[in-house]
Amino acid sequence: MRLKRLRDAGRAPIALTLDGAPVSAQDGDTLLTALLAGGAGHLSPNLFAQEPRAGFCHMGACQDCWVAVDGLGRVRACATPAADGMVVRRL
């Protein structure tokens, strides 16, 4: 999936990595927005179903958007602000 940005295009750019690959995002993004508007396609797969996932509720309830961030541990991407230099891994 790819989130489509509709407004507030003039924000400061930030740079993250996901599993070592660069992701360009904007200051003010959540980690979920940064990754899924930046072309990641999906977040961590569900290990029981062996299928990709990308968050479902965007409100911190469904727990389907977990990723690992250096220094923060496992977080919900929808409830975590993206920051420049973040090193993110799929679980």
Partner: protein
């Protein structure tokens, strides 16, 4: 007296307002960084916060609530970014987690304003990236300025379906289609009951008319069949029209939802009994119109106490705070109490009409194919659940928590928030029982995952 208020949405804000006016300094906890709840959630400061554009007709209400919220922070023990993951009603303690730090907080009385989330029905393909709840699609738009895709289909029923279609249209993200599982004739038949809603009713009609006038394809009385795609890409939505014809729409994202369900886990842990409400088709914590529960010291308000919407939540928050103050021997303005009670009674009638207009499609939930995941966390299919439940004759798992123990349905990270309603329908159908007789998934601490080291302390 230490009063804890959990939640800073419309109910929490108006509750704290009353408590502060009475001279108290409540402990005020919210999981979000900036309050507002979901409906009036503000984007991060780096994005435009133009209220007119974000909240439309509700801009004045949103702005007023935000002003009150911001002014109250200094008068309360305000704790944003704080998850309340357990409540002990006997020792009157909250277990909370904030910035990785665990704390135990005492209270004398607690007012829980914990909100709601989307109620969903599994559709084959619904766990694929590109499929979200209607609420998620709205949050992405409102707080991140994003659509969930380029060609977005909106599926479900209820006021949020049409509001979201209108909001996407206004934001320049014209929906590929709107699919309402409720037939037009059903809605039209129930419209007279909605007249009591006044402006809310007319706004709803306006959203529907605007979506149609813009030429967005609208299908009503549909049955969704499958969300197609591969890997992390959605490619289409297959459905059956009201006349039974098979159709497929090309799309790259689907937002779905069938009304809301209370986030009532803390009320559950606090020992508040629940009852099945046939109109809302939800299990609701027991409380009176003022928000008093059978558990001493525990009060409920807002959508977490039964779905009512933001206007109800603001009034219910104020009313519950006044009940709490009255119960602890403080004088309360009786004219305000009377006005709130009258308004809440009137709005409850409107809500009942609304629920009847946009009913939960229990038949769709009961017909989820065997191979479809119901519990997205633990990857439990409808077939797994049916097999565990047994037949009407054997009735191996005659109750939802028993089926949970057998299958792990609802035992995963989300604690059954997402799969609970559909799981209950599937089990009820397999056993040929009323859904109310199947029970509900009981809340367990922690209500959301917390790091093991914190929980062990």
């Amino acid at each position: 007296m230490k009063v804890a208020v959990v939640g800073a949405g419309p109910a929490g804000v108006r509750a704290v307002e009353q408590l502060v006016a009475a001279g108290l300094t409540p402990l005020w906890l919210d999981e979000a960084p900036d309050g507002g709840g979901r409906i009036y959630q503000r984007p991060p400061a780096q994005l435009s916060r133009d209220a007119r554009r974000l909240y439309g007709f509700e801009a004045k209400r949103a702005t007023a609530l935000h002003a009150t919220l911001d002014a109250l922070k200094a008068h309360a023990d305000w704790r944003p970014n704080t998850l309340v993951w357990h409540i002990d009603p006997h020792r009157r303690r909250l277990e909370v987690l904030s910035a990785g730090t665990q704390a135990t907080l005492d209270f004398d009385a607690a007012l829980l304003c914990t909100g709601a989330m989307d109620r969903v029905v599994p559709v084959p393909g619904w766990t694929r990236p590109g499929v979200t709840t209607l609420g998620a699609a709205q949050i992405a738009l409102k707080t991140q300025g994003c659509a969930i895709g380029d060609k977005v289909v909106l599926l479900g029923t209820g006021p949020l379906l049409w509001l979201l279609a209108y909001q996407y249209l206004k934001a320049g993200a014209r929906p590929a289609a709107v699919l309402d599982t409720t037939a037009f004739a059903h809605k039209a038949r129930h419209a007279p009951g909605l007249l009591a809603g006044g402006a809310v009713f007319w706004k709803g009609l306006y959203y529907m008319a605007a979506v149609r006038a813009a030429g967005v394809p609208v299908y009503e009385g549909v049955r969704p069949r499958a969300i197609t795609g591969a890997g992390d890409q959605v490619s289409g939505l297959a459905f059956e029209t009201a006349r039974g014809a098979a159709r497929t729409l090309a799309c790259d994202a689907v937002a779905l939802g069938w009304g809301l369900k209370p986030e009532a886990q803390l009320a559950d842990l606090a020992g508040v009994p629940f009852r099945f409400d046939a109109d809302q088709h939800n299990w609701l914590p027991e409380r009176d119109i003022a928000g008093r529960t059978p558990v001493p010291g525990i009060y409920l308000a807002g959508d977490g106490a039964g779905i009512g919407g933001a206007d109800v939540a603001e009034r219910a928050g104020a009313r519950a705070a006044l009940a709490l103050l009255e119960d602890t021997g403080r004088p309360v303005p009786q004219d305000t109490v009377a006005a709130l009670d009258a308004a809440l009674a009137r709005l409850a009638g409107f809500r009942t009409a609304l629920e009847r207009t946009f009913p939960f499609p229990a038949d769709l939930a009961r017909a989820v194919p065997d191979a479809t995941l119901v519990c997205r966390c633990e990857a439990i299919t409808a077939g797994d659940l049916r097999a565990a439940g047994g037949t009407p004759a054997t009735g191996t798992a005659r109750e939802l928590n028993r089926a949970k123990a057998f299958t792990r349905l609802g035992m995963g990270r989300c604690q059954g928030r997402v799969c609970g309603p559909a799981g209950a329908e599937i089990l009820a159908a397999a056993l040929n029982r009323e859904v109310a007789a199947i029970g509900r998934l009981r809340g367990q601490p922690p209500v959301k995952p917390v790091p093991l080291a914190e929980a062990a302390e």
